[in-house]
Amino acid sequence: MTLVFGVFLLTLLVIVAVAIVRSTNLFAAVMLSGIFSLLMAVNFFLLDAADVALTEAAVGAGVATVLFLSALALTAEHEQVRPGGAALQWLPLVVAFATGGLLIYATFQNPVIGDPNAPVHQHVAPWYLENTPELIDIPNVVTAVLGSFRGFDTLGEVFVVFTAGIGVLSILGLRHTLVEMTSAEIDARQRSLRHHLIPRVVGRGMVPFILLFALYVQFHGEYSPGGGFQAGAIAAAAIILYSLLEGDDRGRALVPEWLLQIMVASGALLFGGVGVVCMLLGGSFLDYSVLAEVPSEGQHLGLLLIELGVGITVSGVLLTVFHAFARRASR
């Protein structure tokens, strides 16, 4: 029966995607992207990917919408409509259809969805499922593969995030175009949503709970869906909520920029540092087993530390990016 639900939701997904591309209002497109992301997450959940659904929740519903809206506030809200511009363009259409057609052509020899005999479920994956209890000894196999078996990918992922952070800072953070505003206007912008009393009170009440939940996701990630990335995104979302309600200046007072920069760098360094320590103790890079007497305890310690590193860098980068956009708006 979940299959039928899945089909229904996937169909909605296609409808929303078409609506996004057709809409000339960018704000509407961003709102629809929010729905797209939620639908995507529900589909992931129905396909047994709880961790991925949680990530999509934190990223799609929380961070991506905020980023797109900040960018829209700084650019333009409408696509410029040209005479005849609304019509479909042929060359891109042909390219897109060729690509899509090729893939559909390929799918007819794909293994059926859910087929336990598909090659995907035969070779490497069962090994992870069989050996995780013994080698890593944690219930969440996704975390085990993410942090240990394929820990190097995750290291790379952290550095991708780090690159994006310093990139946005380098592109947006330093050179400024000054816009003259009256002091009343600057003041009004700084105040942000402070005069909306009800959202402010409710929102401020939410912030500690979101942070608490982020901590839970961070440290409970070995037993339930979650981990450093999701926790980092959720924690960043909490601070972003605070900044939205109280004004960007107070948000930055709460987590100052120098601290953010240190967070961005130190999380990545912590992850890499754990790997180097493993090397110094005689293992290979990221071989956490050497960190303690009992290999599985070493794995636990290693996972804890690297997830912490991931969480620190991710929340630092997301906040840096948010502030970089927000500061542009308040100039």
Partner: protein, 114 residues
């Protein structure tokens, strides 16, 4: 099916009905404020019923607390969001249907830019 299960079923189905009515309201009501009304009133009721039904189903366990948390958070945030949205719409000069207000520039009434 035990009595608790039955009650749970009834509550959740009633919740589903409320949610559905809200959906129809959002689609069929004539203007923004009535739609918002339809959405938030039925949402709250539906949410309450569905969550209570699930709680009965869950029994005395850890998920029960998570359900309570979900319920409390949604009960607090959902009306807040509705209030904030209505407030923003009203302040920016988006008139309710049937209200003639000459101070609102007519260009702002139609289309995407209220």
């Amino acid at each position: 099916m035990g009595v608790v299960e039955l009650i749970s079923f009834v509550l959740m189905t009633a919740g589903g009905f409320c949610v559905f009515v809200g959906g129809v309201g959002v689609l069929r009501m004539p203007d923004l404020y009535t739609r918002m009304h339809a959405a938030s009133v039925t949402d709250t009721a539906g949410l309450f019923l569905v969550a209570t039904g699930l709680m009965l189903h869950a029994g005395w366990s850890l998920p029960l607390f998570k359900l309570v948390a979900i319920l409390v958070f949604l009960l607090v945030t959902s009306p807040t969001a509705a209030y904030a949205l209505a407030n923003a719409a009203m302040l920016s000069g988006h008139p309710p249907a049937g209200v003639r207000d000459e101070t609102v520039p007519s260009a702002g009434r139609d289309g995407e830019t209220p």
